[in-house]
Subunit: 215 residues, 2 copies
DNA sequence: TCGACTATCGAACAACGTTCTATAGAATAG
DNA sequence: CTATTCTATAGAACGTTGTTCGATAGTCGA
């Protein structure tokens, strides 16, 4: 069982969602496809289990960094660790959502975020909304980032820089009257850093939360 | 071509992602599967086009509601309309992300959001981060919401209320010391409203943005 | 009249998730 | 000790899917 999940994660890490097939997994484990079905009932369940498997590792890391003075700082730290984990494993983002709060480790992680918000002593409703917002933003931003780069970047034929530059050039060529924003932002986009972008958004959200907590 | 997209969207609306197969679509159009491949190169492209098709309708609506006094209010209005559109079409959320800014209508919608942020007269980098945050949060929250309810709720055997109550009961039964947040939030979750939850998170984010804009 | 282009169609292929049956060792009961 | 049930493995087979391919017209201009 443990080996099944480990190898499943390895496949996902190496080539993303599409690479995880029962046949490929069976070949890697040196068994038949039927054997895997003794451990999991379906591919969906396999993905759920694999996701929760790596969330378990993430959870262990996170639990060591949630004991700061400031609740919102801790919230920020945990969210950043979640983002890093998804950035390192792009396939994780897509399944973090549907891997609902039925999986044990995911639920624990969710609760850990909630514990920080509880320290702010908001109303229950406010707490619930705050946690949902942080989770939603983190997973959403990370999943957005995790969309498979369209092949050209995977085989190394063009680097990330040139790929972004391609977009920037397209956008610069647009009519500034029709696309004022995109036109103006092209340069910024060409040299943007995903993690910094995420941090900036998260800080906006947390600033709003801090403001609410002060009241 | 128009008919292909219209019928594709109809299939997606009726039964979600899985229902859109080339054979089902061909049957509906009264043609063969090969014909569809004359219009689109792959299923991915079909989904991209279908997504952008409905984004076009959304865009038309949005363009009429982006002329308010306050830039952040307009930003809020547009984000809410995007959320509603995805809530009405759960399949949309998942493809909003990968439907990157190559599609014409999506790019226009993105720019429209950006135009509101430009009115805040932040630095280019701040503007870029703000727009990314709003888009990331909106799509993330909506996609999270759009995860297929696990069958029981689709056939009407159990309503949404009972489904949520199931979770709430599970959470209430957990050890309050081990899961302090989840335990405490169970009631809130059982009666939560998705749209309100989204609005609350969005307002936190926009509060942070407003604070940044004032400085 | 002859090609080129537009458009349609369905058979065929490969890959996939899933089901089913066969099998054999381990554990347990009588 | 034996019979039976349980645990676990293995792969053939099925149905569905995306995709490719060649055949086949209709349409237009030269």
């Amino acid at each position: 069982m443990e080996a099944v999940l480990t190898e499943a994660v390895a496949l996902l890490d190496e080539a993303g969602d599409g690479a995880l097939t029962f046949r490929a997994l069976a070949a890697r484990l040196g068994t038949g496809v039927g054997s895997i079905y003794w451990y999991v009932a379906s591919r969906d369940q396999l993905l759920d289990r694999a996701t929760d498997h790596v969330v378990g590792q993430l959870l262990a890391d996170v639990q060591e960094h949630s004991d700061g003075d400031d609740a919102i700082d801790d919230l920020r730290t945990i969210a950043l660790m979640m983002f890093d984990a998804i950035a390192a494993r792009p396939w994780l983002g897509a399944y973090f959502m549907r891997n609902s709060l039925l999986q044990p480790n995911t639920l624990r992680l969710y609760d850990l975020l909630g514990q920080q918000v509880l320290r702010l002593e908001l109303t229950p409703r406010q707490s619930f909304h705050a946690v949902s917002a942080v989770v939603g933003f983190t997973v959403g931003a990370a999943a957005d980032l995790g969309q498979e780069p369209p092949q050209e970047i995977l085989d190394g034929s063009v680097g990330r820089e040139e790929y972004l530059a391609l977009f920037a050039d397209m956008w610069r060529a647009l009519d500034p009257d029709e696309y004022p924003y995109v036109h103006q932002i092209a340069d910024e986009f060409a040299h943007h850093d995903d993690a910094e972008q995420f941090r900036a958004g998260l800080d906006l959200l947390l600033a709003g939360l801090r403001q609410q907590a002060r009241r």
